[in-house]
């Protein structure tokens, strides 16, 4: 009985895994195929050779180094800013009593629910009035803090028993020291997970940079990849896929490093 259940479990897992992994594997395969292979019917599953010519072609089709730099800088600055803003905000919501706490918290929750498509226009107008279009600012400032991150961190801060904080106060620790030495270490998995989500959404974001940038040298990597498709001679799918691989690799690397922390953040049950 148990054995057969295990079998069912594993086959279900295998199906789900295949569904998720298939597009990735096809992208990887396509990135090595020639143009002839890629437009062939039935589709080619395995490329005839594994040379990097598609990658070179994609990279050289535009100022990809600039795109990459833009992506790296804006994403990194956003991550740093979120780390700085999220933790004190979550601490205040979780642990301090102050006037207007409920209103502030409601606003934070509302922020969580407003879709980006609703606010891009006023945001655009604001940044254009400030003369900031085609700079890094519109790609950084709206993401300087994260309502989702504050929400998640607050939950994880709330799990810390009050006595531990009282203990620290009796041990002459300042509020900052308590945050640094008790809250951040306990909430580490959550912090890493939230920042990882931010990293993925910023790194992959296409819509926001599309609206906020018009000049070539302010564009980010996803836009560069998309631009590959706007050629007159038909879309070179093999090169697009190669560019996509370039785009995805950093995410995969980061994910593999932070894997166990992410699982911890969602299975975290509290403190013994």
């Amino acid at each position: 009985m148990k054995k057969s259940l295990k079998g069912v479990e594993y086959s279900l897992l295998a199906i789900v895994m295949l569904l998720i992994a298939f597009p990735f594997l096809w992208m990887l395969s396509a990135s090595f195929q020639t143009y002839i292979e890629i437009i062939a019917t039935p589709p080619t599953w395995f490329p005839s050779s594994f040379d990097l010519s598609n990658f070179m072609a994609a990279w050289q089709s535009g100022p990809f180094l600039t795109y990459t730099m833009n992506s790296v800088v804006t994403t990194f600055v956003v991550l740093v800013l979120q780390f700085i803003t999220m933790i004190p905000a979550a601490y205040a919501f979780a642990r301090l009593e102050f006037k207007g706490k409920n209103i502030c918290w409601s606003i934070t929750i509302i922020c969580l629910m407003i879709p980006m498509q609703l606010i891009f226009l006023p945001n655009y107008l604001l940044f254009s009035q400030w003369g900031m279009i085609d700079t890094y600012w519109p790609l950084i400032l709206p993401f300087a803090t994260s309502a989702f991150g504050i929400f998640m961190l607050r939950q994880s801060f709330k799990q810390i028993p009050e006595e531990i904080i009282e203990s620290a106060r009796l041990d002459n620790a300042s509020e900052w020291k308590i945050i640094r030495t008790i809250f951040i270490p306990v909430a580490k998995p959550t912090i890493i997970t939230v920042l990882l989500f931010t990293f993925i959404s910023r790194w992959n974001d296409y819509f926001w940079p599309l609206v906020m940038t018009t000049a070539e040298d302010a564009r980010t990597l996803p836009m560069g990849v998309a631009l590959l498709r706007t050629t007159d001679a038909g879309v070179p799918w093999n090169e697009v896929m190669a560019a996509n691989v370039i785009l995805v690799i950093p995410i995969l690397i980061v994910y593999f490093i932070a894997q166990d922390k992410i699982i911890k953040a969602f299975t975290y049950t509290g403190i013994k």
Binding site: P161, E163, I164, E166, R169, D171, A173, T181, I182, K272
Partner: protein, 364 residues
């Protein structure tokens, strides 16, 4: 070393709410007591009696609504908890989960800028004292309950405070470990010669460890005194029934009862401790006796506990020798000097015959 003095202390948790609505009960109401320097004082009471609130006000974790908290010669109402030079041991240990045992112990010293070398020496010394030297690199979740308790103790001792505060520190331990830790705490108090304030709901803990007990109920002080004083000379029914297991039997009086030395009026009550009563098949007029029947018998090994029923209700009788009888009616009898009398408000009637006798008890 310092006395702790509470002067007219009140704590009102919902003061703001109070102004709008009708008054509700305060958590702690106008309590006064002194905890002498070097004493082992246990604050005891049923849950919700305000004992933890009182303790937390002494520690500075809870603001005082009214009154003054004195530690030594200063009022500490507005002094931060960290600056009161006290150490607290919590019920759930409250160890820092991500720090090693060493870091847990040294944390408080680091925060007040003790030199690294001295911290190390003090941590090692305290770790030896509480048998934790082998575990300094472990994290709290790798320790057993007893070991965690010891870390919490070490963390308190290492600070060399003027005052140790314990908030039900043993209630998470099993019975055997609890008894061991009780002894360790008594020894620790002897060695450190510092003031201990200990909160518990367990009167056995209070009796066995305290040299002064403060018994609270519903935010008010019921009685302050040594364990024997509270046991032998309770000021009211609450104290009488709280101290001692099983509790003192209270017999409500509905008609005038004439005893050798006095008359008990309706509304008053008579009390006697289960261990002071005896059972017999015949009444004996030298004693206070009640015709009863035995409801249940519990054999506890060294003693036997009887539940008896009579015109006053049900009571407990505890005997060291089992009472074997086939008679339907038995007689509970108690020496006159072992009786307690309470007025209709539950206050003990002092000055009746038992008073002098019990004073002798307390001194003996």
């Amino acid at each position: 070393m310092a006395d702790v003095k509470l002067v007219n202390i009140s704590k009102d948790y919902d003061q703001k709410v109070r102004k709008k609505k009708q008054p509700t009960k305060k958590a702690v109401e106008d309590i006064n007591f002194v905890i002498p320097s070097g004493s082992f004082t246990v604050i005891v009471g049923p849950s919700g009696c305000g004992k933890s609130t009182t303790l937390r006000m002494i520690a500075g974790l809870e603001a005082v609504t009214e009154g003054e908290v004195w530690i030594g010669d200063r009022i500490v109402n507005d002094v931060k908890p960290g600056d009161r030079n006290i150490a607290m041991v919590f019920q759930n240990y409250a160890l820092y989960p991500t720090m090693t045992v060493y870091k847990n112990i040294s944390f408080g010293l680091e925060n007040i800028g003790v030199p690294k070398k001295e911290i190390d020496a003090r941590v090692q010394q305290v770790a030896t004292l509480v048998n934790l030297s082998a575990y300094l690199d472990r994290k709290p979740h790798q320790l057993s309950g007893g070991q965690r308790q010891r870390v919490a103790l070490a963390r308190a001792i290492v600070k060399r405070p003027d005052l140790y505060i314990f908030d039900e520190p043993l209630s998470n331990l099993d019975a055997k470990l609890r008894a061991e830790m009780r002894n360790e705490l008594i020894n620790m108090h002897k060695e450190l010669q510092t003031t201990f304030i200990y909160v518990t709901h367990d009167q056995v803990e209070a009796m066995s460890m305290a040299d002064q007990i403060i018994l609270l109920n519903e935010g008010n002080v019921m009685q302050i005194g040594s364990p024997m004083e509270l046991y032998h000379r309770p000021q009211n029914i609450f104290v009488a029934t709280f101290m001692g297991t099983p509790a003192m039997n209270i017999l409500p009086v509905t008609e005038v009862i004439s005893l050798v030395h006095q008359t008990v009026k309706p509304g008053e009550s008579i009390g006697y401790r289960p261990e002071k009563a005896r059972l017999s098949e015949q009444p004996n007029d030298d004693f206070f006796w009640v015709k009863s029947e035995i409801v249940t018998t519990e054999l506890l090994g060294s003693e036997t506990l009887y539940r008896v029923k009579n015109k006053f209700g049900e009571q407990h009788v505890k005997l060291t020798e089992p009472f074997i009888s086939t008679a339907r009616d038995v007689y509970v009898f108690v020496k006159h000097e072992d009786l307690y009398f309470f007025d209709e408000n539950g206050e003990r009637l002092e000055g009746v015959n038992t008073h002098e006798h019990h004073q002798q008890y307390a001194l003996r």
